[in-house]
């Protein structure tokens, strides 16, 4: 994989992030170079298979990281391409003309993270959700528990007792602070 990274660094502004195992490594590229790089990997480096596209919400850095995972069937190696997006205004170029399934992934990310891919087909169609009226659910600031408490009633009659408090009251009332 070293030689691949070397070849890529010659042509593109990429940085190696980490190589987790011999057949998988992750590189980082800025969002304007991503399409060219990925196209290059697909057409000239035999990374012909797109395993998936997904996003990571790095709320502490105020960033979304997109991961394109490409696979080379000849060398059996995988290449993860990280692209960082601004969390406030996440927009990425649509790569739906590189792979047939890319549009679906982009549609999913639009729905669950709110990332825009201008030009991607059927981007604004509902995918998993229907009638969703909250912030995109996979964003870290969306609390699924709080949402459930507010929206979906649960069965009454559940109550748990705190052991520490019970023991304090029953075993050593008044002792200690």
């Amino acid at each position: 994989m070293k030689s691949l990274i070397n070849r890529l660094t010659e042509q593109f502004k990429v940085s190696l992030e980490k190589q987790t195992k011999s057949d998988l490594c992750f590189i980082r590229v800025n969002k304007d170079d991503a399409e060219q790089l990925i196209r290059h990997c697909r057409d000239h480096e035999s990374y012909t298979h797109l395993s998936f596209l997904t996003a990571i919400d790095r709320i502490e850095d105020n960033k979304f990281t997109l991961t394109y995972l490409l696979h080379n069937y000849q060398s059996h190696q995988s290449l993860g391409v990280h692209v960082e997006l601004d969390r406030e205004n996440p927009v990425m170029h649509s790569l739906h003309r590189l792979w047939g399934q890319m549009a679906t992934y982009q549609r999913e990310l639009k729905e669950i993270y709110g990332i825009e891919f201008p030009g991607s087909p059927r981007l604004n169609d509902e995918f998993f959700l229907e009638g969703w009226d909250q912030i995109p659910p996979m964003r870290k600031e969306f609390s699924t528990v709080e949402f459930c408490e507010e929206r979906f009633p649960i069965r009454e009659g559940r109550q748990s007792t705190d052991a520490k408090q019970t023991m304090k009251v029953e075993i050593y009332p008044g002792r200690g602070e």
Binding site: Q134, T144, P153, R155
Partner: protein, 207 residues
Amino acid sequence: MKNEDNTFANNGLLPEEMDLFCNARPVPYEPYSIEVVEKFFNWMRANSLWIMAFGTGCGAIELNPLMTSRFDANRYGIQVRPTPRQSSVFVIGGYSSVKTLKRIIRSYEQMQGPKFVLALGICTINGGMYWDSYNTIKRLDHYIPVDVYITGCMPRPEALLSGFFELKRKIKAGECDGANRYVKNLDWYKDNQKRVIKKWDMPDYNW
């Protein structure tokens, strides 16, 4: 949601769709006045439980063994029908997402009476595994009436069969009034349904 003459407003429909759906309210089922006849009807109902083929959740996977040769539910008068119009039992296979709940409600309302609901698995009772999921409902009885619950995750075909036997017992005893409960408390059910289904683009009651 109601018009002045107590019919449904069907606000969720487009104007051109209005004519396609009935807006009358359903009426509860009145048992036959002669007790013996009603009992005979119940006996017949109990012995022809036709399940609607709608695998709403993971519970559907255990319906396959139940309906095939090993557990052979057909001998108890249980069989699967492809359409709501022919079915009398709706088996809710576990969790239902908001999107599926909408289809469940439509299918349930399309079923002809007498109709019964069998809730499978923990998710229908109190949310189960998905108690904190943003896309599944937690207690089914808020949205459609349930006649028999079967707990477990996943309930085995045998547990399902026990559920069907319990359902039969209840039907024969004339205790299965889920459908009537739905009709009588329709406004309450509709309120609950509309609280979670934000995209209500269907008739208020799907005849």
